[in-house]
Amino acid sequence: MNNHPLYQLDQIKRLVNTEKVILDIDSLSLPKGELTAIVGPNGAGKSTLLNILAFLEKPDQGSIYYLGRPVGPKDFFLLRRQVTMVDQSPLLFHGSVFENVAYGLRVRGVPQKQWPRRVAEALSLVDLGGFENRSVKGLSGGETQRVAIARALVFHPQVILLDEPTAGVDVARMEMVESLITDLYAAMGVSILFSTHNLAQAHRLTDRVIHLAGGKIVTNSIENLFGGQASMDNNSGLVHLKCGATIRIGSVQTGLVRFTIPAASVEVEPYSARDDQTNHFESIITRMELRGTKIQLLLCGRINLRAEMLPEDLQRKGLKLGSRVTAIVPPEVIHLLQGEP
């Protein structure tokens, strides 16, 4: 079993006109089989990063490893056959839905007699069964997007990259695309990465969020998203959460406040009655999953928190499923969301 991360990017730089840096990543490791969101404002480098991960663009500097193997310039074409990307406004080729969805099979030389079955399977995954003979000319925006996703699914890729799949769409279509992403992730178990400028959406769909800004990674971890009302007490720095708990966020705010807490920064200690103080939350470990080299914990209490720990730390502290613990959130690890949707 290959335990290498899906992607490992080291010292990656992408330049425009050989001088302006549009992507500058020191190190990025993405585990296999995850649903990952890449969040950032316009111009943050999301599409460039996705193009590099889809092997459609070569970085100007740095190294890429795919499933532990270094990727050389000659590997791009072969790896492109294992990874696929769907654009934010996907283009369908002229012709029928069948011709479009079968394209990936055609270029891979899959025997033609397999096409009808595989195209039908892919179309049923996106709830477009029976659309094979329809011309792409008459499709609605939502149908076009689903055909594009079916076209990407038909050759069973290892990774699906979605570039801003809900950019500029109405609420109904956004909900459709969101449920499609989560359904596909659950049904196919493939690695899915999608970019969005909508942080709330990213957190609705996944815990693993990469924040990009100015071409650099700001955070790359599993995060906990919270929102609440800042305390009216001057200079308290406290926020009253909807669940009734109070948390100190490290800076004085007014009104509604939204913030994230990286799972890796949540400290987990065996419970002690003396721990009843601000930012200490009594919890129970209700879920433990091995993700890469770390164990991801779900801590349930007055607030639910995701935390990450190394297996040896967990063992040293004698923690196991069902253990009563104290989750400690240092105020300095809290990332305030300002002006982000």
Partner: protein, 218 residues
Amino acid sequence: MTDSGIGLEVFNIMGVSLRVSLCATALATMVSVPSGFILAVSSFHGKRVLVTIINTLMALPTVVVGLLVYILLSRSGPLGSFGILYTPTAMIMGQFILALPIITAITYAAVSSVDERVRKTAESLGASPFQASWMVLKEGRLGIIAAIIAGFGRVIAEVGSAIMIGGNIRGYTRTMTTAITLETSKGNFVLGLTLGAILLVVALSINMTVAHFLERKT
């Protein structure tokens, strides 16, 4: 000449016209479509100048082409030893030169106007560079077919080079256009107009066949 004799002669003239023009268009397509495609997808120093030259050559006078080919093929010319002046082969050469810039320029325009996302989409679905290029060509096929039709239209209707290098030899190199010229000079306006109408009907039939084919395919 009897009516049936005229009919047979017109049939023969039409055959020469179609054979020469279709051959010239087919040969020009084989050279011009790849050239126009490469020109559209590549970038190199002097590309704009080259495109301007090709666009200018679309207006190349047919008599100039006739003159150049005549010089090449005449007994004292560099290709004079082949002895092909006043043959259908020579006429194909002339029409090939006339069709070349038209098909190249329109193919260039057609491929340039294909959505840039076509190549990227094809590549992201696993297409090799050749397969992705083929898809770009396929998406621009309406424009490319228009280029071929325009090239054919130019050569079937030209008279200058056909008369200069074909010689308008009855039953051998006489085409619809050279026959119209001859009949007009003889004062046979009715026959000239009839031949003109037949030429238009032939062109219309070919265009309708292509249009029908396109409707079926898209």
